[in-house]
Symmetry: C2
Subunit: 189 residues, 2 copies
Amino acid sequence: MTIPKQSIRRNELVVAAAKLFKENSFDRTTVRMLAAATGIKSGSLFHHFKGKEEILVAVIEDGLKKSLKAVQTETQSLTDINQTLFALIYGHLKTLHGPERDAHIVSITEWRSLSDESKQHLITLRDEYEQFWQKIIIEAIDNRLLTGEPTLIRLFILGSLNWSIQWFQPSQGKSIKELAQQFYNMVAK
Amino acid sequence: MTIPKQSIRRNELVVAAAKLFKENSFDRTTVRMLAAATGIKSGSLFHHFKGKEEILVAVIEDGLKKSLKAVQTETQSLTDINQTLFALIYGHLKTLHGPERDAHIVSITEWRSLSDESKQHLITLRDEYEQFWQKIIIEAIDNRLLTGEPTLIRLFILGSLNWSIQWFQPSQGKSIKELAQQFYNMVAK
DNA sequence: TATTTTACCTAGCGCTTGCTTGGTTTTGAG
DNA sequence: CTCAAAACCAAGCAAGCGCTAGGTAAAATA
């Protein structure tokens, strides 16, 4: 019995899992809960995934890949560094609180529920994303838009942006664009 | 059988619990693990705490109270707003990565493991801490040291500071004071 | 239409979990 | 020295957990 990595059904399960993992947490979401939410019996889940952890890996992998794609799209064809930096911040917030919100939140909060092997696999994806930021930040420093150590600035900005999952409610009060503007104004010269 | 809220033994258990909750997580720390770490039998834990959750509440309560005390001490007797804002950032980082590190990390990461009742109880303490920040931030805005909405700025700064638990290793590379300086330079005018 | 593959169900095993109960030891005040 | 309160232990229960085994139904392939 081989388990296919791509299938419509599997993807549905991953989306449902992301929602449950966000609402409860990975540990407090049981395979029976996920089964009930998707109209399946709990044992049948293991036809799609080797184990519970593989579901979490799939959710996070999904989230990370979409993050990278999102900021790439948002910043492409921009030449001005001011615009690029804003687009980066805006793009990050837009995916973070967009349709894939659940997966992104899980990517951020459930990292430590992963085994070492799973971490190793996903860390490559995360590094890729962070490198994308790093490059633009360095360019911004060169243009005196930012000052300080690139790595520290990156951790600082990404930290505060990611923290918004703790307090920001989409479609209530501020728009994401306003938010991005305020973030941008605070760090850029 | 009444359970006293203050006792030396209880405090030892809370400290040990903080460490375990940080290393594993609340859910993945079993009462048996905590018992083994403190040289006790698992059942005996329930002489000190009504249930497992009460241990978590004690850890977080401890962390929050010490946070507030730390920044109060750090900023007292300062009149210049520049100095005060720096002291606030420095004080926050110093407790966060100081001797009570475990409890603070648990306070940040395990919030959602709490029941609604426990949350309600602890939210008062957290609000108190945030209000302390808010006051100083407003003063800083009045003095043109910061610009923007107070609440947003607070969330932004505290978010990035708290995020440092994800990457900062005490006693390795940068000192906390250097870190605080960089943070300060990035937000203050 | 026959055959294989994919998707699912039924039933339950083995293990761990938080917590309880009823009893014993230790401690400290009078 | 007495004795009650506090701290602990031994043993185990009931519930929930991830996951498996063996089979059936549906869909795809030939």
